[in-house]
């Protein structure tokens, strides 16, 4: 039988999506539904002197008005318990929620929010990360020492998590170098921007609440509701209807408890739907603005001898899940290069800005961009072509990584050579202002527990019941292929019950590119149990030995005797009078490769990269010297993902990631006036459109690993977004003859760099 792995298949949720029948959270209808609106601080830092909700509560159509006074006084947070549901005594960023209203129409709710009288005493906001780290700085959280944290989190004043990564002897390494180069790169805050805004509906029955939410992480969201409302987790059911994208912006626990509180007070179902402005200002889940300082020593032949790095992440008002970014960003500073001596530190800095967290490949694109700009500058310093410089320094099998993990294999060079070949490196026949730029990188696969059930139905179909969450990538839809492969069936014979905390077993959500990697293993295990039971029952019915049977084309048959066969439907139907064909699996997360953390400090959640994957991106850019505008006519992206389970899906992830990364490279960044975002909308914060998007040459390489996901697969969702901005940056530098040291490389920044250069020449 031909394997289903690597075959093209049509996703199971596709038809309802293309016909407009798919229901998303904001599409659900409820009898007696009320509409929620939040009142935000609209100022960066202030003390609350008084909140008066009397007038709002008396308004027509208003059924509930809640503030922190109506919520349990619980501080929550994934790494640091530093926030309350509503502002308590102070506000720390413009999107801090001060109060919430539920009314019969959205207009009435908005009017009631406007009628809430809040008296503030404004304070000078803390905005700059370097200033915030000085001992003289006022504190975003004066009580920070009293906050509870996860084990291992090391903090300081205005620093909710700092870490150090040390390898070898960095001073000795610098002593061996012929050249030492120090540079600083900065990136602006960027946003996840799923096209579906956040939405939540809550409805109580007795002491139980059902919440429909646009969450990427139903189980952690349920835990957040239970913790903040101080009710048992079993009283909270969290259901995610179709999810309209997330990109990390819908990870972590968000607004479910606010809406549940409103619904409890109103005794009616309540729905919250965010506006696009709220998506930018209030979703406390943005890609960190960063400042990355790198000092690297190289020998005359291009060999890297040592690196010192310091990363400052502007984490905004609260920690949230930001330490994922901190930990991963720290693991990206060496890149996929042999850096024998390293000293790197990272700080997650509190300021009075929108809180940052894990957006698709947290810590990835910005760190890769800085490291790869730096790499090209090192190559230039020693007079090597950027491709050749990388060739000499990339990790190979047998090398040790940043924390001493030994690479059992490395496709880094293969990706590099293949991308160079496809893109025609170093390029020729350039129009004026055109050039190629290259970037390489690596990423990890995240091991985690994750559960699934599989059952066979009497009509010969199967059902997968999983805790996993489908964010749109198709990873949950692809589980059908894995089950079908085990059972000799077709993927379209499986229905999938997913993203409902009452049905599926635990899964940590669509985060960390982990769905296929972990839940895939769980589904295979569950299907394996069904397979065993199916074979046993079929053997009994066929009067054959189990070991002589095979499962092919929806039938159990005796190997070599196709006539002696039973449809799986018959076996499943017969099993309803005996032992049912059901199975469960929780995968078995592989452990991290051996590594060495001596000398390192802080919580290092990603202390080694499991089943690391590699990539190389090459971008062709055109820089308009008159306006500074950068266009990107072509991108080549070569990725190695272990084993490609679903080629169409994997290509889709790469294409989408590349285009998102082009946006980060040239368009996407929040501008600020003090503590207020200046461009919280899609007119001021532009995404790449179909008309701007280049063709993307995608090539997927395979290097299956036995300590990885199903059939040797590795994580796919996040790596594609990491490298393109870096390749574009290097192409811009090559085309413009000058380097832009801030992301995004907007027309204004490129123009300024070009003209500063002219000034220097004059």
């Amino acid at each position: 039988m031909t394997s289903l792995i690597g075959q093209k298949f049509v996703r199971g949720d596709g038809l309802e999506k293309v016909t407009g029948q798919a229901r998303y959270t904001a599409d659900l209808a409820f009898t007696g539904l009320l509409h929620a609106k939040f009142l935000y601080a609209e100022r960066a830092r202030a003390r609350i002197v008084d909140i008066d909700i009397t007038a709002a509560r008396a308004m027509r159509g208003v059924h509930a008005v809640v503030t922190q006074a109506d919520a349990p006084m619980v501080r929550y947070g994934m790494f640091v318990k530093d926030r309350t549901l509503f502002a308590h005594e102070v506000v720390r960023f413009e999107g801090e929620i001060v109060a919430a209203v539920a009314a019969e129409t959205p207009e009435q709710a908005e009017a009631a929010c406007a009628a809430i009288r809040v008296v503030y005493e404004d304070l000078d906001p803390i905005l700059d990360v370097e200033e915030a780290l000085k001992s003289s700085s006022p504190l975003v959280h004066p009580d920070w020492k009293s906050y509870q944290t996860q084990n291992g989190v090391e903090r300081g004043p205005n620093d909710c998590g700092h870490m150090t990564s040390v390898k070898g002897d960095v001073e000795a390494g610098f002593a061996e170098a012929d050249h030492i180069l120090t540079e600083t790169y900065q990136s602006d805050m960027a946003h996840a921007v799923p096209i579906e805004p956040h939405a939540v509906v809550a409805q109580w029955q007795g002491d139980k609440v059902t919440i429909w939410s646009t969450s990427q992480v139903p189980f952690p969201a349920r835990a957040g509701v239970a913790e903040t409302l101080q009710i048992p987790q079993s009283n909270v059911r969290l259901v995610v209807p179709h999810l309209g994208g997330g990109f990390g912006g819908k990870c972590d626990f968000h607004f479910e408890a606010h809406v549940a509180l409103l619904a409890r007070q109103a005794r009616r179902p309540v729905r919250l739907v965010f506006t696009r402005r709220e998506e930018f200002v209030a979703t406390d889940k943005v890609r960190h603005a960063s400042k990355i300082e790198l000092t690297t020593g190289v020998k005359a032949d291009g060999t890297i001898t040592a690196r010192r790095a310091r990363i400052l992440l502007n984490s905004g008002a609260y920690c949230g899940d930001a330490l994922f970014t901190t930990e991963i960003g720290l693991m990206m500073v060496a890149g996929p290069y042999r850096v024998p001596n390293l000293h790197a530190e990272v700080h997650t800095v509190y300021t009075n800005r929108t809180p940052a967290g894990s957006v698709r490949a947290p810590g990835g694109p910005e760190t890769c961009w800085a490291v790869e700009q730096h790499t090209d500058e090192l190559a230039r310093r020693v007079g090597l072509d950027p491709l050749e410089f990388r060739r000499r320094n990339l990790v190979q099998a047998g090398d040790t990584g940043q924390t001493g993990q030994r690479f059992i294999s490395s496709s880094a060079k293969e990706c590099l050579e293949r991308a160079a070949e496809i893109a025609g490196w170093p390029g020729k026949d350039f129009a004026p202002g055109e050039a190629l730029g290259i970037a390489v990188g690596w990423w990890f696969s995240l091991p985690a527990s994750s559960g699934a059930y599989v059952k066979l139905n009497a009509d010969g179909t199967g059902t997968i019941v999983t805790g996993a969450q489908e964010n749109g990538s198709g990873s949950v839809m692809g589980l059908a292929t894995l089950a079908a492969e085990e059972l000799g069936m077709r993927p379209d014979q499986f229905s999938i019950v997913y993203q409902d905390t009452e049905s599926g077993p635990f899964d940590l959500g669509s985060a960390g590119s982990q769905t296929t990697f972990n839940n895939g293993r769980a589904v295979i295990e569950a299907a394996g149990e069904v397979r065993t039971k199916l074979l046993r029952k079929a053997a009994e019915m066929l009067e054959a030995a189990e070991e002589d049977l095979e499962l092919v084309d929806g039938a159990a048959r005796v190997r070599g005797v196709p006539s002696k066969a039973l449809p799986i439907a018959s076996v499943a139907a017969a099993s309803q009078t005996s032992s049912l064909l059901i199975g469960s699996g929780s995968g078995n997360p592989p452990s991290l490769p051996e590594h060495d953390l001596s000398g390192c400090g802080g919580r290092l959640g990603y202390s080694a990269f499991l089943a690391p994957s590699f990539f190389c991106h090459i971008a062709r850019v055109r820089v308009d010297e008159e306006t500074g505008t950068v266009s990107v006519p072509e991108v080549t992206a070569v990725h190695e993902f272990g084993r490609i389970l679903n080629p169409l899906g994997a290509q889709g992830q790469v294409e989408g990631g590349v285009i998102q990364s082009i946006g980060m490279a040239v368009l996407e960044g929040s501008q600020y006036d003090g503590g207020r975002q200046l461009n919280p909308g899609l007119l001021g914060y532009k995404l790449i459109t179909a008309a701007d998007a280049p063709r993307v040459n995608v090539e997927l390489l395979e290097d299956p690993v036995d300590h990885g996901g199903p059939h040797g697969a590795k994580a796919v969702g996040e790596p594609p977004v990491v490298g393109t901005a870096a390749a574009i940056g290097n192409a811009v530098a090559a085309a413009a003859g000058t380097r832009v040291r801030a992301l995004p490389m907007t027309a204004e920044r490129v123009w300024t760099a070009l003209h500063e250069q002219e000034g220097e020449l004059a």
């Binding site: 407009g20 904001a26 096209i195 999810l243 696009r276 590349v658 998102q660």
Partner: protein
Amino acid sequence: MKYPLNVRVNGVETSVDVEPHRSLLNVLREDIGLTGPKEGCDDSECGACMVLVDGRPVNSCSYLALQTDGREITTIEGVSEPSCPHSIQQALLEEGGVQCGFCTPGIVMSAKALLDANPSCDEDEVRLALGGNLCRCTGYQKIVRAVLRAAEQLQDRAGTTG
């Protein structure tokens, strides 16, 4: 104060009373029960709310419902019977042009308006026609390919029947 609105929606004569400030999107979703068109920005920036008014694509979030009085409206729900998807929908499925699906209804409507008006469109024309529809998942590659494939199929069909 509400005013009567008489429109033909997906071929069905429909009468509702609406306040003058309400958008076509809002009335389609809340009063007429068609949740296929999505609200992504309420500002004509994302295209998720795209519908056809007398065959022309409009962002229904920024179009007053009463402006459509007496006109013909097509939403994603009116493009095909789910048992028999339109060529654009079928191509999106097979080419992998749908991921989270939130932008998809708007994409289908923009593509349909293009193919209805210009069945022999080329890639640049497809990209331009979809320029008002943001998609964060796919990077547009497979969507563009799907629309071109649908155009080819529709032309082939027109060729064989005509």
